[in-house]
Symmetry: C2
Subunit: 214 residues, 2 copies
């Protein structure tokens, strides 16, 4: 690998930028986006690195390249794996897991967001409903107040609809261009060859027995 001599020597040394600048830019951009959507910045960074390299990377490599701790890498990879945006493989001749990115990134993220949003909205709606009930049965609450609470419920309903539509549209857009992140034809071919070269033969799409995600 080309980056070899640059990297491994100075491990303890806090090297601020060991990645080529274009990688750093992409990795951080994705990190920001993912952070914006309520995930951890480093989850996005790890995914982006794996996607850019398009070659299996060990936890150790990720740790070195992104300057994360052992623990952080363990946690982050597990989470990404749970969401299905990366998966781990174990080359037969190698005792450590390697990670590769899933290309259906947005689909997965979309599903997670949708789920999160759904339960959140459910909670809000329940609270407003309860408030309305209480206000109705309380002598202290004037009818206008009940009316206003009802209006907010309706508003919540509308927002829910809009968010649902957004997520669906978003999903469709991405489905429409069908695997926009996936390497196409020739490139994919090359990628596959490169992978094989690296790990020396078939990859075991790991039904993680060793402390895999619960």
């Amino acid at each position: 690998m080309l980056r070899g001599h640059l990297v491994s020597a100075d491990r303890d040394q806090e090297g601020p930028v060991r990645l080529p600048q274009w990688e750093a830019l992409v990795v951080d951009a994705v990190g920001n986006v993912i952070d914006f959507w309520g995930f951890k910045r480093n989850q996005g960074r790890v995914w982006a690195l794996l996607y850019l390299r398009a070659t299996p990377m060990s936890a150790q490599e990720i740790q070195d390249q992104l300057g994360l701790s052992k623990g952080a890498v363990s946690m982050i990879t597990r989470e990404l794996e749970q969401w299905g945006v990366i998966h781990r493989v174990r080359p037969v001749n190698n005792s450590s897991w390697m990670f590769v990115s899933e290309t259906d990134f947005m689909g997965m993220i979309g599903r997670v967001v949708q789920e999160r949003e759904a339960s959140f909205v459910a909670r809000v709606k329940a609270d407003l409903a309860e408030a309305e009930r209480l206000a109705r049965s309380s002598p202290d609450a004037p009818p206008e107040v009940v009316d206003r609470i009802a209006r907010m419920r309706r508003l919540a309903q509308l927002i829910e609809g809009a968010v649902g539509a957004f997520l669906k549209t978003s999903q469709l857009n991405l489905d429409g261009v069908s695997g926009i992140l996936k390497d196409s034809g020739e490139t994919l071919q090359r990628g596959a060859n490169e992978i094989r070269k690296r790990v020396r033969s078939r990859l075991l799409s790991g039904p993680r027995q060793n402390g895999g995600p619960s």
Copy 2:
């Protein structure tokens, strides 16, 4: 001074629930939503309280009712005012400002979110573009990498479109029901009367001179 012993007596006392329960529920529900959208929880709580009461409230009242500090109320009201979701009025016979909620809450929030999102996306796109440029002109970057960066740019574009569509739809939905939060006919009448009773005459839609929002 007399204010000392009177006020502070029950101020330090952490009154957990001084609001009727239905108000607490609504106020917190809105707080959660607003927090979810990347604003401060208490901004949502203050707006919700003003909306529910539908009557001008002083900073002091807000402070007491929601258990916030003087400073927090000042900051939060200023921010809400800047976004145009509340405004301050000064009754002629009264030396303190009173706050009232704007009913076009979602419209305003939508605009702010849109703005925030737009500049964020612009930044991300610029970073990806720069990364692509660098990768193209670097001998170390294989063409597949350039290709993958280009793909991510396209993805960013799509997401941007989806978000834009969402915000527009959301706006339309709310416009469609035209002022869903606004008190209608009769109720509005009553509300207005109530307001007049309380503040004792016309309200000055405040071109805040005294330390108003910049």
